[in-house]
Symmetry: C2
Subunit: 257 residues, 2 copies
Amino acid sequence: MVKVIIIGSGNVAQHLIAAFQNPQNLGTEIELVQVFSRQIGSVSQLLDSDHITNDLDTLAEADLYIIAVSDDAIAAISSKLLFKNRLVVHTSGSVPLNALDDNNRKGVFYPLQTFTKNKAVDFRTIPICLESENATDFQLLEKVAKAISDKTFAINSEQRKALHIAAVFVNNFTNHLYQIGQEICLENQVPFEILKPLIAETANKIMLLSPEEAQTGPAKRNDTDTIEAHEAFLSNQNHLTIYKTLTQSIQQNGKKL
Amino acid sequence: MVKVIIIGSGNVAQHLIAAFQNPQNLGTEIELVQVFSRQIGSVSQLLDSDHITNDLDTLAEADLYIIAVSDDAIAAISSKLLFKNRLVVHTSGSVPLNALDDNNRKGVFYPLQTFTKNKAVDFRTIPICLESENATDFQLLEKVAKAISDKTFAINSEQRKALHIAAVFVNNFTNHLYQIGQEICLENQVPFEILKPLIAETANKIMLLSPEEAQTGPAKRNDTDTIEAHEAFLSNQNHLTIYKTLTQSIQQNGKKL
């Protein structure tokens, strides 16, 4: 049995705890033996209270400690662990492996997904990006990751940094474009609902086509009449700046090909 | 029986023809009696050849003529119709109702979706935006639209223009962000596949949460360390400009609230 302990009680920690507890993932040789949460109550709906501690000094012995806390707390919490030479990993996309304290063997266990409180996700479809200092630790991380997900990848710190930035574009920035779409609807008394099937299909398309193949619209067609009409319509300066920046970027792409 | 004729054979025309022919939509009182296509072969896989014409002068009599051609061809083709005072509509998001020729009654039948050749879409979930010059024509348009979709909306030309611009943001621009994500992956030898579950979940979230509620990431958190690290990492000047523009826009949003 591989014993796992999760340190943290936020969004990522809660989704990880739920994944390890998921009945469909039982029968694997992985056991979540304990969770550290400053507030016992934050995770008590997920597992029995005798498996929860709010005292780092009482952490049980385990094969893997997963620190799932906010980026700026990772280094501090890893330096407060009393044991040595065990495998300690964090779950962040943007923190390097070496931010972890030297007292223990280091690794990364980064599930690349956006987690929403109280919204279940199918963890088996979530890519888990793994990194370790040696091959034996990597095998252990892979075994644990495969217990909850069908998609595991070996990703080093530099690649993970690139992935995290790419994720900002396809997730954070995309969501901000949804918000601008909503603002334009509100300003013109049109229900934002009308755009939702389009949003769903835009994401759907990318599962089958490359972004280049899926690209459509006035910028792609170099339809300057429509582009000028849109720019004249946009009274919000911020919307206009973003419209121009992204239109130019799509047009430059066309020239590259 | 309401008789409908479709003029055009492109992407939108083909998906409309398929929707009217869909067995689940039979039993309604709508009949697609004819399709005009310059090349008979472009639509012959969708309906019997005796219902296809490549000669505008042989168009049958019908209650509704739907012109589904490229934006810049709508005015010309509407002026070539030999009959008068019938209901003629176009399917464009960006062309005003008045672009249609004065010889006939005008309207708009705009299905707001991105259509891909050879990729079926569930037309019943697609919002159809309707506009007409009078209430009787509107009722007819609504009857026809409801035969193929569960979502119909009365949208005037000004609102439609706003919707079309909002669609450029949530569809064309979003797809371009997917492309930048892919470029960053390629430059760093990371498979773009890893980002696809995140892309799907980002679109999924917006079905349940507002864009404001769904917004996460370094710009939202005002995490200047991460933002600076990302900006230092981006060697592609175009990616950097877009990163800065969208980050500032998200940060300004935070200040508004």
